[in-house]
Structures are given as structure tokens and as C-alpha cells.
């Protein structure tokens, strides 16, 4: 599964994309695995209220299942237009 980061999430984690070989059951499980890795992940995921998540390029929720997901992306609220 590919995990993508955008905007300040990308900056805090220090990379735009990485490959995860584990199989987390939900987005929240993935977040917890990442948080346990290094302080930069903990900093990026400190306030989930300030984050949005997309699963396979569709906006999703932190309790969404990740079965068969190929791509998960984390980013701050969008500011298009």
C-alpha cells in the first residue's frame, strides 16, 4: 500500500510518499503504526482534527477499513479555488 502526504503533513514527515508492507485493518490502525515509528510521524499525526484522509483517491474517514486499499493519503483541509 502506498501512503501519500501533502502540504505541511508532507513537510513534517519529510517525504511525499512511502510504501507500507503491513496490512492495517483501518485508517486509524495505519495512523497508530506510523505514530509509533518516529517523532516526526507523531508530530504530523498529533491532531487528527486538523487532518483529512483519502483512501484510493476518495475522501474518507479515520475509521474506514483499508481492505484492498492501494493508496492512502493524509493532508490538511483543502484550500482550492
Amino acid at each position: 500500500m502506498d501512503v501519500l502526504y501533502f502540504a505541511w503533513v508532507r513537510e513534517r514527515i519529510g517525504q511525499p510518499k512511502e510504501r507500507i508492507e503491513s496490512n492495517p485493518a483501518t485508517v486509524m490502525d495505519l495512523v497508530n503504526q506510523l505514530r509509533a515509528r518516529e517523532p516526526r510521524y507523531e508530530a504530523a499525526f498529533a491532531d487528527l482534527g486538523a487532518l483529512r484522509v483519502a483512501v484510493d483517491q476518495e475522501l474518507s474517514d479515520f475509521d474506514a477499513p483499508l481492505k484492498n486499499a492501494r493508496e492512502v493519503a493524509f493532508f490538511p483541509p483543502m484550500t482550492g479555488g
Binding site: F6, A7, R10, A73, F75, P76, M78, T79, G80, G81
Partner: protein, 147 residues
């Protein structure tokens, strides 16, 4: 339906003429254009726009299809740029065509409201004193509730 996500500038006038010119039987054309501006007087030198290739196009198509299903429209155009832009450069435009003006206006406002908060773009203001990500505004999220 014409949706473009691009780094290059676009010519608002040429796009508007082309869009209006290819309509038949439409009495009303509305356009909206977003321009880089330094609202907080932070002496912004440039704006860096990041997006999520792949998801961006899907999200814009979904928003445009939703607008087409809600209003009686002839056509929709969306152009949104990414990359580094300078003050007074055009960031994006939408255009809508309809037989009646209310449909064209409402669809354009709907597109803009959803583009603001549901299309994966992020803006960073670059200034002489440091850079900062533009925060989403509560009122932009609130604007979605009217639809």
C-alpha cells in the same frame, strides 16, 4: 464538460469566448476567476499550489457531475492551476452555461464552494519573512451546508 488541471497559465478571455462560442441555445454564461492576492498584507512574493494528481481530476469531475445533475446546464468548464504563481496571476476559472441565468449562477457558486473545500489543492504563501500554508476557513466549510 471540460476539466483541466495544469501548471501553465490560461487566457481567461480566450477561454471565455471559446466556451460561450460553443454553446447552442444557452441564454446565460457565468464565469468565476480566482486571482492570487495578498489579503493579509504579508508582502507575499509568490503562492505555491500543491495538488494530488489523480485525485484532483476525479474530485473535480465529481463536483461538475453533481452540478450537472442539480441544474439545467448546457456545459461546464473548470481550469485550475498548480505550481508557483505570483500576485495578480489567475489561479483558476469556472464557466457555466444555461438557458436561464439562475441555473448558471447557482451552478457556478456550487462549483466554487466545493472546489474550495473538496478538491485536493493546498496553497502556501511565500513571503520575504517566511512561508506559511493557507489555512482552510470555517466559512468555506460552512458554505457547503447551503447546498
Amino acid at each position: 464538460m471540460d476539466i483541466r488541471v495544469q501548471e501553465a497559465p490560461f487566457d481567461l478571455g480566450a477561454e471565455t469566448n471559446a466556451f460561450a462560442g460553443r454553446q447552442t441555445g444557452m441564454g446565460a454564461v457565468v464565469t468565476f476567476t480566482g486571482i492570487v492576492r495578498d489579503l493579509d498584507d504579508t508582502r507575499m512574493t509568490a503562492m505555491q499550489i500543491e495538488h494530488y494528481p489523480g485525485m484532483t481530476e476525479k474530485a473535480l469531475s465529481k463536483i461538475a457531475e453533481e452540478a450537472s445533475s442539480r441544474w439545467n446546464l448546457g456545459d461546464i468548464l473548470i481550469i485550475h492551476r498548480f505550481g508557483r504563481l505570483h500576485p495578480d496571476e489567475m489561479i483558476m476559472m469556472v464557466a457555466t452555461a444555461a438557458r436561464h441565468r439562475a441555473d448558471a449562477f447557482q451552478a457556478a457558486e456550487f462549483l466554487m464552494d466545493f472546489l474550495k473545500s473538496r478538491a485536493p489543492f493546498w496553497k502556501k504563501e511565500l513571503t520575504g519573512k517566511g512561508d506559511g500554508w493557507v489555512a482552510a476557513r470555517d466559512e468555506d466549510e460552512d458554505a457547503l451546508t447551503r447546498w
